[in-house]
């Protein structure tokens, strides 16, 4: 399969009052069409920064991102983002939130009826058709995230970028969402980059797991291919030796090779660092 997205030796340096802070150094990654790639690493390691560079929300200090042979310089709907905090517009219903995206992307190419059908189709895909006229404050966190995914899918992106999409959800809802996402993946076979903290989630969903070293100057540490057969079932996989092995590979990377050595008291510091990074 051909390379869809090429993250080509990017560096990311943020100017801070204390001097430049190198968040990423020489990150390279090639992603094939239809591939599901997870980025995993400790918090503050720059996973989100990679995603933001791919989304075009940040400009890499060095190197660049090439999508379908074209360099990425600004955000666009062909690289739809599912944000961690759903980021639905609170004054619009689920339907209207998706509609905003559809109007913008298919404003001229689809008729009114086609647009309506497309919006409803995408909400059905995430099982939100029963509550599509509810506003975000009337639905649960998991449902909001579903609408967020529907909005991203409705843009018909070439690559779907998910920034810890289920990070803010409780464990049961998260499992449910993961199953839904696999179901959607089986149907649409999108190209996806997902950031996660959750080892099980990464192994369950991905074709490849990209493990990042700790920052500053974080980069790609190891890449793990997940060749588990699809469709995957979380219950039968729990007993699967291959699954257990892959899982322990990721855990080894995170807790042996890239163990966070910072003392507890510096935790708040790294937290604030992450904030400036995100800003």
């Amino acid at each position: 399969m051909s390379i869809l997205l090429d993250i080509d030796h990017i560096d990311m340096v943020f100017p801070t009052p204390k001097g430049p802070f190198t968040a990423l150094s020489d990150v390279s990654l090639k992603i094939k069409k239809g591939e599901f790639v997870s980025l995993i690493g400790h918090s503050g390691c720059g996973k989100s920064t990679v995603l933001n560079v791919v989304a075009g929300l940040y400009q890499a200090s060095k190197g660049g991102v090439v999508l379908n042979g074209k360099e990425v310089n600004e955000p666009g709907p062909e690289r739809a983002v599912v944000f961690q905090n759903h980021s639905l517009l609170p004054w619009l219903s689920a339907y209207e939130n998706v509609e905003l995206a559809v109007d913008q992307v298919f404003g001229k190419s689809k008729t009114k009826a086609e647009k309506k059908e497309w919006i409803e189709h995408n909400l059905e895909l995430v099982h939100m058709d029963h509550a599509m006229h509810k506003r975000p404050d009337e639905i649960s966190g998991g449902m909001k995230q579903r609408v967020g995914i529907a909005r991203a899918l409705a843009m018909q992106p070439e690559i779907l970028l998910m920034d810890e999409p289920f990070g803010a959800l409780d464990a049961l809802t998260r499992a449910h969402m993961q199953d839904s996402l696999m179901e959607i993946q089986a149907e649409l076979n999108n190209t996806v980059i997902m950031i996660t903290h959750d080892v099980d989630e990464a192994v369950l969903l991905s074709d490849r797991i990209v493990m990042m070293t700790n920052g500053p100057a974080a980069t790609v540490g190891e890449i793990l291919d997940i060749n588990l057969e699809r469709p995957r079932d979380r219950l039968s996989l729990a007993e699967d030796p291959e699954y257990t092995h892959l899982r322990s590979e990721v855990l080894k990377f995170l807790y042996e090779k890239q163990r966070k050595v910072e003392p507890i008291s510096r935790k708040s510091l790294s937290g604030s660092k992450k904030k400036t990074e995100a800003a």
Binding site: G76, P77, V81, F83, S87, L89, P90, W91
Partner: protein, 332 residues
């Protein structure tokens, strides 16, 4: 009993959180009994204090004489309206008579020029404050949005806003008066200068809180929502219309309510000085008049001013609830 239930439903309607109190008899005390006790206590204190204050215009007016003045003010209004009607009737008759005698006669219709009644003055004040407020909103909200969106513009405008914000708008009044007389000198003005003076003064006091609140609201939009807009590549105008404006509506309304309250206070003073025929002028004229009724009439005006101010704020709240998606912020 019927009056009490009517009163109850009225208070219930206007109460900020009517939902919370509806149908709960235990909260009757909160809604009816305690406010009533408070008002009664105030009336008692007022009448006792009034008995003991002697002014050159007689005793300070107690509740009873103020109530009496409300009746008088209303009667004066009715009488003045009758006079006006009689005047127009006479004029019409006179014109008809002359037309009958001389077919070439072109009748002149003259307006009745009696003095404004208390009710007329209330209307004048309301029209003045609302026009001044709307003018301010028309300037401040677009400016606030621009300032909130652009950091350089914010740095440029901020010092000016900060310096003018603490200035009492009344300090502007003499300047406004002179500028209005210089620029607005048509022989037959459609709106009186005194109205413009008061209105512009109101505008000047409404401007700053609205600019500040709007710009803060716009600048503090969740960055995720801005990113959504970027990913969708919304054109700038759509971005403002679909994202920025709705997101900052709660803050815009906070600024609007703030400035509307101040505007109503400032208006009374501005009308005293500018001689705009509103409530402020009423108070000033009664003060200059110095009859034995003057103080109770002024006190009546004070109560009316307070009550209208209250209604205006509630009105804004209702509009905010209707317009804003964030119902929680409207209950604050």
């Amino acid at each position: 009993m019927t009056t009490i239930t009517a009163l109850f439903s009225k208070i219930n309607d206007s109460h900020i959180a009517s939902e919370r109190f509806k149908g709960v008899s235990g909260d009757l005390a909160k809604v009816i009994v305690f406010p009533m006790l408070g008002i009664l206590g105030f009336l008692l204190l007022w009448s006792v204090a009034a008995q003991n204050i002697d002014t050159s215009l007689g005793k300070f007016p107690g509740p009873a004489s103020v109530v009496e003045q409300f009746g008088n003010l209303y009667e004066e209004h009715v009488r003045e309206r009758e006079k006006a009607e009689a005047f127009y009737e006479r004029q019409e008759k006179r014109n008809a008579d002359r037309m009958a005698k001389d077919p070439d006669f072109v009748p002149k219709i003259r307006d009745y020029t009696g003095k404004e009644t208390f009710l007329d003055q209330i209307i004048t004040s309301l029209v003045t404050v609302v026009s001044g407020f709307l003018l301010a909103a028309a300037i401040a909200i677009p400016l606030g949005i621009a300032v909130g969106l652009s950091k350089p513009l914010n740095s440029a405008v901020n010092p000016i806003v900060q310096i003018f914000k603490p200035v009492s708008p009344l300090a502007w009044l003499p300047l406004v008066t002179m500028v209005v007389s210089a620029l607005y000198n048509t022989p037959d003005p459609s709106v009186p200068k005194s109205f413009l003076n008061s209105m512009i003064t109101v505008t000047l006091c409404c401007l700053w809180p609205m600019v500040i609140n709007t710009s803060v609201g716009v600048a503090s939009i969740d960055s995720d929502l801005v990113n959504v807009s970027k990913v969708l590549r919304l054109p700038p105008l759509t971005h403002v219309r679909k994202i920025v404006l709705p997101a900052s509506i709660p803050m815009i309304f906070t600024g609007m309510r703030l400035s509307f309250g101040v505007a109503w206070m400032v208006l009374i003073a501005a009308e005293m000085l500018a001689q705009n025929p509103g409530l402020g002028k009423f108070v000033w004229d009664e003060f200059q008049n110095g009859s034995s009724d003057s103080l109770s009439r002024i006190m009546a005006a004070v109560l009316v001013i307070g009550f209208i101010g209250f209604l205006l704020d509630r009105g804004m709240l209702q509009i905010q609830r209707y317009v804003s998606w964030d119902k929680a912020s409207a209950d604050r």
